[in-house]
């Protein structure tokens, strides 16, 4: 992909945002951790971050939504497929996605799956999937779909340099592993408006290009 082709969807998104909500454009362009609902064009919405609790607040976001599984996706089906790609371990801590499938906004808690439980001296990918409180969202364009956040847990059960980072790296790795299993993945297909400059807040290292990858999980 050329840099130009990568920039164009972003420009289109910015123009769309300007038409829809002119007052908020400056905030979205300069601020990070800026949660808002994304419309798919078929009457359903999902937020562009997940949250530490059931409250939509900037200081409550956990990670940006970076994956969009469509065409036959459900939370359990995606997890089943990714178990075959090395993401089979459970997790303790639930986070919350928020979506509206046409019947109002609902919270959806998920602990997600990771490569290794409680990694010591290593990093492991961790993703969480979200719908609207059940297994999937649905519209005519995507079929059934779910969204997911990604990050990496490092030295989680070690006395040392425990941190979370690598949301882009895990997104890319999942796309590649799913593609290898016959599920086409499309890197950074759409802007979800969750660009995060490289920086650290405590031991949470932000690093997001703001684009989500799409994965076709056809039967």
């Amino acid at each position: 992909m050329t840099p130009t082709s990568r920039i164009l969807p972003g420009i289109a998104a910015i123009i769309a945002m300007a038409l829809l909500a002119p007052v908020s454009v400056a905030a979205a362009a300069t601020a990070n951790r800026y949660p808002y609902a994304i419309r798919t064009g078929y009457g359903d919405y999902f937020y562009n971050y997940d949250f530490g609790s059931t409250e939509v607040k900037r200081d409550n976001v956990d990670w940006g939504i970076s994956l969009y599984f469509y065409n036959g996706a459900s939370k359990d089906r995606v997890k089943g497929i990714l178990e075959g790609a090395g993401y089979g371990s459970g997790s303790f801590t639930g986070k919350y996605g928020r979506a509206n499938d046409g019947e109002g906004y609902r919270w959806d808690r998920d602990t997600g799956k990771k490569g290794h439980f409680c990694p010591r001296n290593r990093a492991t990918g961790h993703y969480r999937t979200y719908a609207d409180g059940d297994q999937f969202l649905y519209n005519m364009g995507s079929g059934s779909f779910v969204v997911a956040s990604t990050h990496m847990d490092v030295n989680e059960c070690f006395s040392g340099d425990k941190m979370t980072r690598g949301s882009e790296a895990v997104e890319d790795r999942i796309v590649e592993r799913m593609a290898a299993m016959g599920y086409p993945g499309y890197h950074d297909y759409a802007s979800f408006g969750n660009y995060e400059y490289f920086r650290a807040e405590g031991n949470h290292v932000w690093d997001s290009n703001g684009f989500a990858s799409y994965i076709d999980v056809h039967y």
């Binding site: 992909m1 840099p3 990568r6 769309a16 945002m17 829809l20 909500a21 002119p22 007052v23 908020s24 808002y36 609902a37 994304i38 419309r39 798919t40 064009g41 939509v56 607040k57 900037r58 469509y70 997790s91 303790f92 109002g104 906004y105 439980f117 010591r120 001296n121 290593r122 961790h126 519209n139 364009g141 995507s142 490092v154 030295n155 989680e156 059960c157 070690f158 006395s159 040392g160 340099d161 425990k162 941190m163 980072r165 499309y186 890197h187 950074d188 759409a190 802007s191 660009y195 400059y197 490289f198 920086r199 650290a200 807040e201 405590g202 031991n203 290292v205 290009n209 989500a212 799409y214």
Partner: protein, 190 residues
């Protein structure tokens, strides 16, 4: 879109933002509207799918860093004994840097730097400065851990503007526990 209707959208959007983001005095919406609805494709368009098959490895830029913080980081790294011990004579390249802030209050402590060396190398067992974040007090603890690493070429370095290099964390390669380190962790795992 007329000027009037744009203004109405703007007022509506700002009220929703205020409500959902908890700005005092403006109240909470009973059920929030989308804060900022933005169309996203419902599926991949087959006509332009091919260009998204390969990953674009362009790095996300670092957030702007206060120049005094950056200068302090340069000075600390140049004089840090652990950097000398771990990297030896290898040339470090700063790929990007961003501010390092506290988690709860957003106070800037210093910078985080992503540094690379020209080729992966092995680090024999020795003491490493390791940054441990204490969520209760919202600050760091500097630990010296006995460990080694192999095949590493990229590191995150946490540098406090006053206290210097706090943590050197490999991003790639493999880390090994060198023994003798206490397990302090009582926090819930993610």
């Amino acid at each position: 879109v007329s000027l009037l209707s744009r203004c109405l959208v703007a007022v509506g959007a700002s009220a929703v933002v205020a409500g959902t983001l908890g700005i005092p005095g403006l109240g909470q919406a009973e059920e929030e509207l989308p804060v900022q609805e933005m169309s996203a494709p419902a599926a991949v368009d087959p006509a332009n799918a091919d260009q998204y098959l390969e990953n674009d490895t362009t790095l996300v830029a670092g957030a702007p860093v206060d120049s005094a913080m950056s200068a302090a980081a340069d000075a600390h790294m140049a004089s840090d004994v652990f950097i000398k011990n771990i990297f030896g004579s290898r040339r470090l390249t700063v790929r990007r840097e961003g501010p390092w802030k506290t988690q709860l209050t957003g106070v800037q402590l210093g910078v985080i730097r992503e540094v690379t060396v020209a080729a992966p190398f092995n680090v024999p067992t020795q003491l490493w400065p390791s940054m441990r974040w204490d969520k209760t007090s919202d600050t760091f603890i500097k630990l010296l851990l006995n460990k080694s690493a192999s095949g590493v070429s990229t590191f995150y370095i946490f540098i406090d503007a006053a206290a210097g290099v706090i943590g050197i964390a490999p991003v790639d390669g493999t880390e090994y526990d060198g023994g003798g380190n206490l397990t302090l962790d009582t926090e819930p795992v993610d």
